[in-house]
């Protein structure tokens, strides 16, 4: 039984990785901003996941489990390479104030890059990877309310207004 179970896990894991590899790559890239490091992170993550797949209790959590590995591996990498720049709300305000003028997109992108990783992770996972708010909470190991609070804050920093439905992802 045990072996069969594990076999199923591995088969499922393999096809899950194959189907979603581009998402994982983009996610890693959104942190490290270069191709070689992003590839390294994807490779590292797959390696970590295979080694510890037996610890995965429920296959339903495979998605958030693997996203969590990718996020943590990326953060580890940033910590090592100190490419994180954390910006306080005031600076943020200043950066995003340019959003009215001609350079809207560039400033917006920059504003996004200036978000601290904890805010950025939420925006990326919720809106770009289309995870539900509960899944985001699971990936980042926080409770849903904490994630919601941070999400509001992040959107405010980016000067984006959304209604409640959009926030939760009740689709």
């Amino acid at each position: 039984m045990g072996t069969k179970n594990r076999f199923n896990h591995e088969e499922l894991f393999t096809s899950f990785i194959r189907e979603n590899k581009e998402n994982f790559y983009r996610l890693a890239y959104s942190y490290v901003k270069n191709s070689e490091d992003a590839l390294d992170i994807v490779q590292d993550s797959i390696h970590k996941a295979i080694v510890s797949i037996d610890s995965l209790q429920d296959l339903k959590t495979l998605k958030s489990w693997f996203y969590r590995i990718v996020v943590n591996t990326s953060l580890d990498f940033l910590r090592k390479h100190k490419r994180v720049s954390i910006v306080d709300a005031e600076t943020m305000e200043f950066i995003s104030s340019g959003s009215e003028d001609h350079y809207e997109n560039i400033d917006l992108e920059r504003a996004m890059d200036q978000l601290s990783p904890e805010y950025k992770s939420i925006i990326v996972l919720r809106f770009f990877e289309d995870l539900k708010i509960e899944e985001v909470a699971d990936v980042l190991n926080e409770n849903v309310n904490t994630i919601k609070t941070r999400l509001y804050k992040a959107l405010k920093l980016l000067r984006i207004e959304l209604n409640d439905e959009m926030i939760k992802g009740a689709n």
Partner: protein, 294 residues
């Protein structure tokens, strides 16, 4: 959805996917499975070679120390490049240097080392050519392998040759292997034969874990997969427990035992190949003699 968010999402989705991703993911999946099944392939191979050799010569640590009193014969052992495999195409690069030891009095030893080096060099080349073909069939990409050797230690007593393989598929992985030869006695050293009994596995492992924790404390950029070191994602990784009996090692110029781990073996990829120098006082009680390690 909000216009700005739409714009950001579009930019995110436009992140270009490199050609190598496919191939690299397949490699990672395959490599992970193999490792899980077989343990580390190369280490197993080295261990087997050492066992056969030692068996063939019928040598024991006791005998080695008797031999030590004989006149010095083999201090002029040389390591040179025997042959080189090269592929140099725009997207595919291979450079595999195969070392050979020469002027080793013990011809059987020289032969067995050189055979091993040649066989593994050839195998690496064959694998590269097969991978290249596969990649071509899947629409192409970049692929590189760089293999060579460095003489880690060369003194009157010890010759340590380290051989490396760096695979580049977008990102890279590195494997190191060592052979340490006692030049006076003309024998290939293995980790078990340096110690009185198996207790070294535990002693050395505990010391390495201690060093890992110290390094992580001293600099937050150092990360090893080790327990009690404040890793927040502990459940995600298999933590380092113990070295294998035939763990990669060499003896450095100061006569210290150095334990080496490949990329990914005990730490995240960015840490690369990691080495730990084991303080001699930690193991002096269980060493067979202080001849090699002091």
């Amino acid at each position: 959805m909000d216009k700005k968010l739409e714009q950001l999402k579009k930019e995110y989705k436009n992140i270009e996917i490199p050609d190598e991703l496919d191939f690299m993911v397949e490699k990672a999946l395959l490599k992970g499975k193999k490792e899980k099944k077989n343990g580390y392939k190369w280490i197993a191979g080295t261990a087997a070679a050492a066992v056969i050799f030692i068996g063939g010569l019928n040598i024991s640590p006791a005998m080695a120390s008797t031999l030590a009193e004989m006149p010095v014969v083999g201090s002029i052992v040389k390591v040179l490049t025997f042959t080189e495999y090269k592929v140099d195409k725009e997207k595919y690069q291979a450079d595999i240097k195969v070392p050979a030891v020469s002027e080793l009095e013990n011809e059987d030893l020289a032969q067995s080392l050189n055979d091993k080096y040649l066989k593994e060099g050839k195998q690496l080349y064959d694998e590269f050519m097969a991978d290249m073909k596969e990649l071509e069939n899947n629409g192409g990409g970049h692929l590189g392998v760089d293999s060579g050797y460095e003489v880690k230690t060369d003194n009157d007593q010890i010759l340590s040759i380290g051989r490396y393989v760096v695979n580049t598929v977008g990102s890279s992985s590195t494997i190191m292997k060592y052979d340490t030869i006692d030049k006076k006695n003309q024998v290939l050293l293995s980790l078990p034969m340096l110690f009185k009994d198996d207790s070294y596995v535990n002693t050395v492992s505990e010391n390495i874990k201690k060093q890992m924790r110290e390094q992580m404390n001293a600099d937050e950029n150092n990360i090893y997969w080790v327990s009690n070191a404040g890793l927040e994602d502990e459940e995600l990784t298999e933590l380092f427990e113990t070295i294998s009996k035939e763990q990669n090692f060499y003896i450095n110029n100061e006569g210290k035992l150095v334990i080496s781990f490949d990329k990914y073996e005990v730490a995240p990829g960015y840490m690369g190949v990691v080495e730990f120098v084991i303080p001699t006082e930690v193991i002096s009680d269980i060493l067979v003699s202080d001849e090699y390690i002091h």
